[in-house]
Symmetry: C2
Subunit: 222 residues, 2 copies
DNA sequence: TAAATTTTTTAACGCTGTTAAAATTTTAAT
DNA sequence: ATTAAAATTTTAACAGCGTTAAAAAATTTA
């Protein structure tokens, strides 16, 4: 009998472990989407993945490690979405970004809700470290504000760092309120964009400020 | 022997139960302040209060009931603070309110941090019901914005309901970030007031807008 | 003082995350 | 191909959790 793969070391073993690891994370996502992060118990997860609890500890780790692995995936996807933010104007850039995020969340709303709640709860989005997730995602709105200032859309009375932080805060709060079930994804869109346009209006030059008011009125009418 | 209190029914019994209830809640607060809400276990709480677990269930209820009782107290205190908000101008009113809140949180910072996190986690601050905590606290900023519009400080291009909601959001986000340990109480002050002044600036008349810019600069220098 | 009522405790259930040790499976060497 | 070595999975267990029924103790009423 000819060997299927004449690999030098640990072919079937490594492959099986990788497959099992994927199964575990996939089932974990499903369970979280179905009944929230608190309903994710190691034993049930093991049963659904067709193995036993200690195997999960061996392949991935404890409950916090499972969450960390899932959040890592999400952050990667969010980074891709943020990198695609390229509207002509500042407000288009932000609007596209929020809409893309909402569309992305809509693909598995229950799962993303639970994941963000669990992530916040586990301190995975901490703001102190300069290399953390928070610091990374904050860069973009700051740069967008700086660019808007150069385009003479903003007066520059408020430093881009301050304005960008507030804008990012508007997105975070809307996301949290959505995740907590206070409103749906359309509410998230409206709430996030209202906050962002309001922040921009605070430092806007007259013409751009009127434009922001129009955008805000348009949002209200949704 | 003369009876101490010739009460008609259940004097010592009722009094003892009330005393025990207070002891339980007091110890619960201490435990939360010491090591967070997750470290609050019924058995440990019972031990510290000098009784057993089922008694807690009898006098107060389960873990969520304990939290609800504690949150009820906090909300009462916050309502008092909010009702004392009476500055001459809008921004003074908000500034006094934020500062009073920060001072109040400072009296037992660890406890309030844990309580807000637990409250958020338990859905006690839900936004849908018209009679809920959220709806109640939202009224004040909306009214303050409406008053500022009448004083011709705001242009009125943004409805007071929209502006007030955003302002309340700025406070909530700052509170959450503080509770999550992202910054200290001074950070809370700065973050909340920056957001609030920014919101006001978005709809401000020229003179008031410049005043807001000055306030923002002053905050940055802290 | 005795009976009735109410509160507290004892004891237990089913569940959780996690880990040591045993059993099994896969790899390497003869 | 067979056997020895290594690595992975499972069995079994620990300590802890929230919660509840039933027994014990305490208080009130008659």
């Amino acid at each position: 009998m000819a060997r299927e793969t004449p690999d030098s070391s640990g072919s079937t073993r490594t492959k099986n472990m990788a497959r099992r690891r994927d199964t575990i994370l996939r089932e974990a996502r499903t369970m979280i989407a179905e009944s929230g992060f608190d309903a994710l118990t190691i034993r049930n997860l093991a049963k659904r993945a067709g193995l036993t609890a200690p195997t999960i500890y061996n392949l991935i780790g404890g409950k916090s490690d499972i969450l960390a692995a899932i959040i890592r995936d999400i952050v990667e996807q969010l980074q891709i979405i943020q990198s695609r933010a390229d509207g002509k104007t500042v407000e288009e850039t932000f609007a596209k970004q929020i809409n893309d995020l909402a569309d992305h969340f809509a693909t598995d709303e229950a799962f993303y809700k639970a994941a963000f709640i669990a992530g916040d709860r586990s301190g995975l989005f901490e703001q102190s470290s300069q290399e953390g997730i928070f610091a990374h995602f904050l860069k973009q709105p700051i740069e967008a504000c700086a660019a808007a200032e150069k385009q003479k859309l903003l007066r520059g009375n408020i430093p881009p760092e301050v304005l960008g932080l507030q804008i990012y805060g508007c997105y975070r709060l809307a996301r949290q309120d959505w995740a907590n079930g206070y409103f749906d994804l359309n509410g998230f869109r409206k709430q996030a964009l209202t906050g962002i346009f309001l922040c921009l209006a605070a430092d806007a030059e007259p013409l751009f400020r009127e434009h922001m008011m129009d955008q805000l009125s348009a949002l209200e009418r949704v």
